[in-house]
Point group: C2
């Protein structure tokens, strides 16, 4: 460790309290523009993805067990704290904690590139949001916009389910449907509302290689809001095969994102 | 209720004990060829899917709240038991139980049709298996074979995640790789091993409309066994776009199954 390591034995330590405070409160995360990241692999991912790491925390046993992961973290972290087990518990949101944590700055919102992408409206389930973000990254979709009241992408559950995709995607947040619609339309992007409606255009008939597209995907239970559907140019549907109405939200999103990128396959 | 209803007040009741015994033991389920199903919607689904329901159980409050679901169940159930809350707890595997349960016979294994289908090898995660089964059904894939040591499709978690697809799919189980390979080859089916290997044939290049295919999908962490790969005719891969190596197991399976059926889209 090139960093000077400080030992923390007290649960009252102000740095620990600051980090722990970010765990359960998306309001605090938003105010501070910081979040807490847990797990050896995820902390390594954050460091390697260019996330600004203000401090890392680890237990003594984690330092031995996960030193290969911690190396990348130590290179970029502003401070290193070895914490006692009872202190580590304050920072953990998992059942079987590895005892490795990073206090991170949220990545800067990059200026939106004019590329095809996806808009997720009111996604409520952290596991689902994380999975969709992971799939978007896996498929090379660069632009993901969270519309309305999605769950916080920097919550512990989303970070885990996304396998660090949150660190690398260019994530934007927008609360206003009209504003987003107008902005994307101004960039010459065609907006496609994904609906479970057999009369809509089959997504397989869109030529995603020609022009720029934004697929809008709605909430797990209720789909897109009326307002979001109205702002889009076209409605698209996953063609009905079998009992397609019974896809779960994550499978439907996977197929839509896949169709968007399918033509790019080499 | 056309059925005569019996009230059960004791946790020692033999029917309750039999049903509860099936909850945690796949061995018992296999011996008895029975399983326990929980939840108003899932029990209704079982009844409507032609599952033989030996008995249904419900609490007094569930009987009022879920009578519209229970109607289908009452029509087919061999017996109806109104159980007290403390008895219902013995039958439940969920945090917030609806208090509705069915003791069911496993569906008869239908004679394997000569159709395209999917083979799942050693799938360990109940949520993942359930999701894949749900997606297979949604896509109209009729033939699903569980190879090796998959988790039990009649476990409470798989039933839930599959949203009842387990009741309607023609599920087969086979432990022996060679035996299954030879049988399918004998039916003139081309066996495709799904691998994360860029040198394999892109799955988008297979014309699933011509001939019969069986896609073999492996375990979440380790993929297909060497033996399973060797028995297949060809290796196929999801074409590499973005960071495709980082799909989760369920997203990868969704894309493979979708590609298999994509040509059937109307």
């Amino acid at each position: 460790v090139a960093l000077k390591e400080t030992v923390i034995t007290s649960r009252q330590n102000p740095v620990v309290r600051k980090a722990a405070g970010l765990l359960d409160s998306s309001d605090k995360r938003r105010q501070e523009k910081m979040f807490l990241c847990e797990g050896a692999r995820l902390c390594q991912d954050a460091a390697l993805s260019g996330i600004k790491v203000e401090a890392c925390f680890y237990t003594k046993s984690a330092k031995e067990k996960y030193s290969s992961y911690l190396e990348a973290v130590w290179k970029v972290a502003g401070a290193a704290y070895c914490v006692e087990e009872h202190v580590a518990k304050l920072l953990s949101s998992t059942k079987n904690s590895q005892g490795v944590f990073c206090l991170c700055n949220m990545p800067e919102r990059k200026a939106g590139k004019k590329v095809s992408g996806v808009v997720l409206e009111n996604l409520q389930d952290p596991g689902n949001l994380g999975t969709v973000l992971r799939t978007a990254e896996a498929l090379g979709i660069e632009k993901v916009i969270l519309l309305g009241s999605c769950c916080d992408p920097f919550s512990p559950k989303v970070l885990r389910a996304s396998m660090g995709a949150v660190f690398r995607l260019s994530l934007e947040m927008e609360e206003d449907v009209e504003k987003l619609g107008n902005r994307l339309k101004g960039e010459g992007i065609t907006l496609l509302a994904a609906v479970p409606d057999a009369s809509a255009v089959p997504v397989t008939e869109i030529d995603f290689q020609k022009g720029l597209y934004s697929i809008w995907i709605g909430n797990e239970g209720n789909g897109l809001t009326r307002q979001a559907m109205d702002v889009c140019h076209k409605k698209v549907v996953i063609p009905m095969i079998g009992r397609a109405e019974s896809f779960n939200a994550s499978a439907a999103a996977t197929i839509l994102l896949w169709e968007m990128q399918r033509g790019c396959a080499k």
